[in-house]
Subunit: 577 residues, 2 copies
């Protein structure tokens, strides 16, 4: 704050005003997408912005209603109450509250790393699939019908069934708005530039078209009385007061279900926010702290709940708008919040007669840019497993719903991870002549000892690779019939979990039954601390004096057959064969 | 077969007969536990045994009804049909069919590694939790009431509510059977030995007590007419013919739900079977092939479906009984199947008046030995994360149901794995004087070059650790203000996934913006093959001639500042400082 300059204040104020006008249509539209009265989109754009401006670590991330979060909100509450009803609104508030609590808790527990469960292909596939699902869902409102369903299949079937009941005036309004918005997004800036308008002004004007379209469409409804006369669906009235106050609390079962969904919605919002914040931070060399972001987003959702609104997240389009309008600091967000509050106070009556078809057109154009088939092509080409995760997530979202899609994506990613870790790297090692170093026999000229099989395990031992490591070691044992000592070099192992410990116990029994002995070498501190005190450790270190061999070299010196040891002495002579 | 000896035939036949008599009570009891007529437990012990004898890789694993699988079967079908009804039976058959198809498919696709999702603590916690849940559920039938619910909480509440309606005659029968069975399991063998009976005979007699109890209880019902006179619940009649034939096929939604449950039941049965088979194989030095087991268990479940029965798995108690009765080869299983078939044909009428309370007592005693608190104590002491996974799984099963428990367990295990991999090992490396080797600067006396920051990444780069690796590298960059080259030594990296690729792209942008260059050294073949052709690869290898540096040494020679290079020459002199 001390370094704040006066001209920044002007820049931030102008940016705040311009951005507010730019993003109002999306705020309204995403509230409708969530099954809520449009004005709630503005409610969700006041206090949450202030909360994030105070607590967030990104200078440019803009918080507010977001398409995928709105879709997930509708998916969660839809089965529990009728869209737009007081119960529905109250459940949305509770969902924002729970998402806020969940995110804040995760942030305070520093569990930000959980977001890493979602790989890039899963996030990208999820966003693309959700965008397509939203698009299909908005085709109904665009022509004046209300298809039902939570999957593209159900929505499509419902759409086809009702298509004969379309509303001509609605279709006309939507049919005018959609191509206009499309043209504004694709070609208008270039067209204006060619007509001699300055580039920044051209881009600014382009971004204001959505608001203009909404204003014109609302004017058309008011002047021609399209809502009463022609049956054009409009946004309508909003119940007064905080909705939670007149709600019976949901049942325990519903609350548990809401809590789970709130966690998923919160985490998804968090992941999307962080990836937006990071891509913006990259341009300005800022640093994003995931745990700070978790807490800030948690408080922003609590603020949204207090406002009587629904879950929010960091918005790519709002952030980019703010960034390119010249916002310098989070103060731009404060200005936005103030202007939005003025709009809510002064113009509420305006929204009542805003036609839903215009909002549907806004949503459709906004989500079109989220469908990123190029990412699928790139991931598929780079790595089949990543491509499959993208495709599985997107198809899961489209055909089975949002939460199924995320589950499938996480499942595929973890399966790929497990599959890779189920092929662990293990090398038979031998001594580099004349040294105390041991290297892979397959890649180096090294000396071995017939009595000793020395294996270097190159990965942590855990449930995901215990079985294949066990199998690989037993296969090596079978191939070394003359050996009597198995030395495991654990220099790269920093963790052995309970499953792997059980595997090593089994291995110890197995080698004993064959007349072998098992030894550990180069065990690292953390592993030593945990193994000490287990029966396995006592048994295995009996030969080496109660501790593992400090090095594979020590193990060789101690365990080599007498005759062999002599041969090794010869081999150690640099002039030897 | 050619090596089969004549005396083995006698041993196998005797073992087959004895084991059949030993396991009949459990087969009947687990069918009842699954909500099915008791006889189905015998149906499930004929064809599945033959199928496994033909296809399985274990010589001693006995297939049949298993407590946890029966519990999961009841949990899946319970909400869809009334227990014991023809619909219920038909759904159980379909469940066995789907489980068989799922396992067979996984086996043919060689996806046995999927079972590694279930770590030892999760399996152990699951079995203990399920055993407790079964125990609570059987207290009702033991005293003649029918509590409802799928969680220990619901079952307990239902039990307390109905406890006044207990049936005196049932309570008396069960109250006699339970301590007798308990004593037989705990003390009878020792008591017989002390009385001068040979040890093997004493153990054999002990194992026949459950059958004796069932026979005596049934005789009591028949002689005293307890079922009609006193209202003692009995097993009752079984519908004739294959149940699937008179079933309307379930709805699409129910089939999808069944398919998911069948997969979980199949995998759980598979995991339990393999761990039983492996602990038995260990004693006999046999080898278990998970993919062969998947296929064999799949076909065994198909065989159970054909028999009109329910999902089966490898049974610990049956295998141990068979093993200690002296079974030499799978032929013992064939003998068992034949004798069981004779029992089904000849004695069906007997089962009709068998009292359920005696079966409940059998189940309670059988599952008591599955509750393994010692495993929890051991895992907790060894590793908090493993202990938590045990506890979370067990509590999840008890309080939220079987599938919730498994999900919680897998979730906790994977969270621990992710958490560990989110702390990847990265070392700053320098040259060991006088050599071309590079080692960790924190642990070795090595030479570095101010212009070069060389980092060795010791783990595969993937979605689970991309963020922390990125952060760690940026922190190192900040600590080396005079360097201009970042060399990543990738000698231990054999995979980079799409998420990590995106991270490296971001890192490349970041270092360029700071006036640095990014380089790769010692990249391994598989990574090279995948990265070649990406924009990142082109950009990064521009300096090194279109390929990564073959070694960190080469990178140093090429990138060292001219002045530095000279210093290094001096340093390379063995007499230098």
């Amino acid at each position: 704050m001390t370094g704040y300059q006066r001209e920044w204040l002007v820049q931030d104020a102008v940016a705040g005003l311009v951005v507010t006008l730019m993003v109002v249509p999306q705020c309204l539209a995403y509230a409708v997408l969530a099954g809520l009265p449009a004005q709630l989109g503005l409610y969700a754009s006041i206090l949450p912005l202030l909360a994030y401006a105070l607590l967030g670590s990104s200078m440019t991330l803009a918080i507010g209603p977001v398409a995928v979060v709105a879709l997930m909100t509708a998916g969660t509450i839809g089965p529990l109450a009728a869209p737009g009803s007081p119960e529905y609104i109250a459940l949305a508030v509770i969902l924002a509250l729970l998402a806020g609590v969940a995110l804040l808790t995760l942030g305070l527990l520093r569990l930000g790393f959980l977001a890493q469960l979602l790989s890039e292909p899963v996030i990208s596939g999820f966003v693309s699939g959700a965008a397509l699902l939203i698009l299909v869902g908005q085709l109904g409102p665009l022509i004046g019908i209300t298809p039902h369903g939570q999957t593209a299949f159900d929505l499509g079937a419902s759409l086809v069934e009702q298509i004969g009941q379309f509303n001509p005036a609605t279709l006309l309004l939507g049919g005018l708005a959609l191509p206009l918005l499309w043209w504004a997004r694709r070609s208008m800036a270039v067209w204006l530039e060619n007509a001699g308008v300055r580039r920044t002004l051209a881009e600014l004007l382009t971004r204001l078209v959505p608001l203009l379209v909404l204003v014109l469409a609302t004017l058309a409804v008011v002047i021609l009385d399209l809502d009463h006369g022609e049956g054009v669906a409009v946004v309508g009235n909003i119940p007064e007061g905080l909705p939670v106050l007149h709600l019976e609390l949901p049942s325990v079962a519903n609350t548990a279900r809401l809590l789970m969904s709130a966690l998923v919605i919160g985490l998804m919002g968090f992941v999307v926010s962080v990836s937006v914040a990071q891509s913006l931070a990259r341009r300005r060399m800022e640093r994003i702290d995931p745990n700070v972001e978790l807490r800030a987003l948690g408080v922003a959702n609590l603020a949204s709940a207090i406002s009587g609104a629904f879950p929010v997240a960091g918005s790519m389009s709002q952030s980019v708008a703010s960034f390119s309008a010249g916002a310098r600091t989070p103060l731009a967000g404060v200005v936005r919040a103030a202007i939005t509050a003025l709009i809510v106070i002064g113009f509420t009556a305006v929204f009542e007669r805003m036609p839903r078809t215009a909002l549907a057109a806004t949503i459709i154009i906004a989500v079109l840019s989220l469908i990123d088939i190029k990412a699928l092509r790139r991931d598929w080409k780079y790595d089949r497993a990543d491509g499959l995760a993208w495709l599985g997530t997107a198809l899961g979202v489209i055909l089975m719903g949002v939460e199924a899609g995320i589950s499938i994506g996480i499942g595929l990613t973890l399966t790929a991870l497990l599959w890779r870790s189920s092929r662990p790297h293990i090398a038979v090692v031998g001594r580099v002549p004349g040294t105390e170093h041991f290297r892979n026999v397959a890649r180096h000229q090294v000396e071995t000892d017939d009595a000793i099989l020395a294996l270097r395990v190159d990965e942590n031992l855990h449930f995901g690779n215990a079985v294949p490591i066990d199998e690989r070691i037993r296969a090596e044992i079978a191939q070394h019939p003359r050996a009597r000592h198995l030395v495991l070099e654990l220099s790269s192992v920093i963790h052995i979990d309970a499953t792997a410990l059980r595997m090593l116990e089994g291995l110890d029994h197995y080698v004993r039954a064959q007349g072998w002995e098992l030894h550990f070498a180069q065990m690292r501190g953390p592993v030593l601390d945990k193994l000490r005190g287990t029966a396995l450790f006592e048994a295995v270190t009996a030969t080496s004096g109660g501790v593992p061999f400090p090095s594979t070299h020590e193990a060789f010196v101690r365990l080599a057959a007498p005759a062999r040891a002599e041969q090794n002495e010869t081999a150690r002579d640099p002039t030897g064969a």
